[in-house]
């Protein structure tokens, strides 16, 4: 039972994380390879505040805000770049953030990480049991889903897709691509921060090693597998992949196997990404209007 709750919570958190990336990747065509940096910022800011006895509400808001601001700061220079250069620049930024977290030991305790992050308490409700925490994350996930759904189904979302498909045309029609891209980027970053806050308070221990390229690849895979540019895609992708990844953790295996299981799992993820790109780049849930155009 604990296993199922644990899985559900992680799926919910990663759904938020994937939905946030999808706004950038799927709708706006921004291939952000550094998305984990905002997850990390949300996690660290809220954790540090909580460990200083700040209330959870404050930590939550601060985490989301700092992640959003981070998106603003990084987006300003990076969004001037095209296509895969943007991807590589964001990747570089994410690694720089991670190295800062690792080396500024006085602020972040560096590689030793932050243990003992307290479970949330909102208006004297303690979310320290698994079912309670599941309620919290489900609530957040539903909220994220609704907000992002609203945004993407609105005219705003249509402009984003237009920019993704043909930026020049969108510009000609009078839309400012840079402004729209920036908005999408900041929104995506903020929600990633939300996912990070929920993660930190669930696992109760974070360290810079939790926020590497591997996590970016995982969330990218979720978005791509599930179907970018759709609302349900990221959620489906999260459910499928997290099930696979986390349930294996709870198997009763001889300890000698654990050295093999980890890399094997990751190999399958890498392979999955490759196979998807060759055979089905649009993912499980296809975007409406894209059934005939799957190579551009």
């Amino acid at each position: 039972m604990d296993l199922v709750l644990h899985l559900a919570i992680v799926v919910a958190i990663y759904s938020i994380f994937a939905l946030s990336l999808n706004i950038e990747v799927g709708y706006t065509g921004l291939f952000n390879f550094g998305h984990v940096a905002f997850f990390a910022i949300g996690a660290y800011v809220s954790a540090l505040l909580s460990l200083q006895d700040a209330t959870f509400s404050l930590a939550l808001i601060a985490g989301i805000a700092c992640a959003g601001v981070g998106g603003l700061l990084i987006g300003l220079p990076a969004l001037k770049l095209q296509g895969d250069y943007f991807g590589i620049a964001t990747l570089g930024f994410a690694e720089i953030v991670r190295m800062l977290l690792q080396n500024q030991v006085a602020w972040t305790k560096g590689p030793m990480g932050l243990p003992g992050i307290p479970r949330p308490e909102i208006f004297s409700w303690h979310f320290d049991t698994l079912p309670a925490y599941l309620l919290l994350t489900l609530g957040a996930a539903v909220l994220t889903f609704l907000v992002i759904g609203f945004l993407t189904l609105s005219p705003f979302g249509r402009v984003l897709k237009a920019i993704r498909d043909d930026e020049t045309a969108a510009a000609v029609l009078g839309k400012n691509p840079f402004a729209y891209k920036m908005e999408a980027f900041v929104i995506g970053s903020a929600f990633a921060g939300l996912a990070g806050v929920l993660w930190a308070h669930f696992i109760t221990f974070i360290s810079p090693g939790d926020f590497t390229l591997t996590e970016t690849i995982l969330v990218l895979l979720i978005v791509v597998l599930g179907g970018k540019g759709t609302l349900w895609g990221p959620v489906v992708g999260a459910a499928v992949l997290i099930f696979f990844q986390e349930s294996v953790r709870f198997l009763r295996l001889p300890p000698e196997w654990s050295g093999i299981l980890g890399p094997l799992q990751q190999m399958i993820f890498g392979l999955l990404l490759v196979i998807l790109m060759i055979f089905r780049p649009e993912g499980l849930i296809r975007e409406k209007g894209k059934e005939t155009i799957d190579r551009d």
């Binding site: 604990d2 590689p111 990480g113 243990p115 090693g209 009763r252 654990s258």
Partner: protein
Amino acid sequence: MKRFALIVSVFSLLACFSVAPLWAAENVKIGAAFALSGSIAVYGEGFKKCVDLAVEEINAKGGINGKKIEIVYEDNKSNPKDCVSAVRKLITVDKVPVLFGPAGSSNFMAAAPVAQESKVVMLSAQGTAEKLTQAGPFIFRIIPSNSKQGQRLAKLAFELGYRQLPVMYINNDWGLDLKDGFVTSFKKMGGVVTDIIPFDEKKTDYRTELLRANKDNPKAIVNLTYINEGAVQFKQAFEMGVKTQWLCGSAARAPKMVELAGKAAEGVMGTYPSVIQDTKEYKTFKAAYQKKYGDDKIPIFGDYNYDMVYLTTRAIEKGGYTAEGIRAALPAAAKGYKGVTGDKTFDENRGMEHADIGIWIVKGGKIEDHKK
């Protein structure tokens, strides 16, 4: 697509159900979150050997109240995040009331809040950072802390005639802790610390740090390092032609370090919570280890792990096989208890009351006690 989703769901469900109810009915289960893979697996494997030896002996004598002890091992992959997962899994899936914690003060301290929150007893046989047990009353350690080590290391430096030296330390709780202890003591004695250089774990190239430490050709360098890192550092220092007296802490005092570093480790000295090996208890332990494993090179901290098993057994016998019972019974079980590593009485912070610090030196490819 529907078929794909079906296959995936079936697979996932199968995966869930393989968490079969454990049929090990009447065994006394104790958890152990050791590093069985990854960079500090060299520590974890040694611990497992000594723990297994102790368990074998106890079970041969009838176990605890007739029930056999079973250790449930969980690999913590040598990183703090997986330590947290491993401990969590032992608590939620295996439901153990007591468990042996991971090596590495940072790793241990990452997982300790989890045990404390779930009110499960967690013991450390090798974590020497000062604040190791701060997570709460369910956390114990049976090895003396760093505070005495820092003082002794400073004293050693002075005895050997060094008044000025740089300090390199591994960037984790253990290193940070010991560095602070050393620097405070050394300065109080009138010594001068010329540079403080933290370095990351698990790197393969420390030449930058070594170059900086060796900048003014100091006669001695304090290097608070682990086994793998130390081996790399001593080797690279040798290649760079660095000639200095290395002064280390307890974590590098391992046959494995000497094996990896080869001749570059010759002459390295350090402090460690010492264990008098001349006692009857130690000799019996050493003989039993030799009989089971065929050599008498006791792995680093293996002796402490051996004691940890016996101590836990006594606590279970006294207090019952529940977390609260064990927690309450531990101080009484340990008071005056002479394990192979000496007197195991707890102090008020659930650490060790008694601490002897010895000096080790690498001579002729072997680790020996330094005789003055």
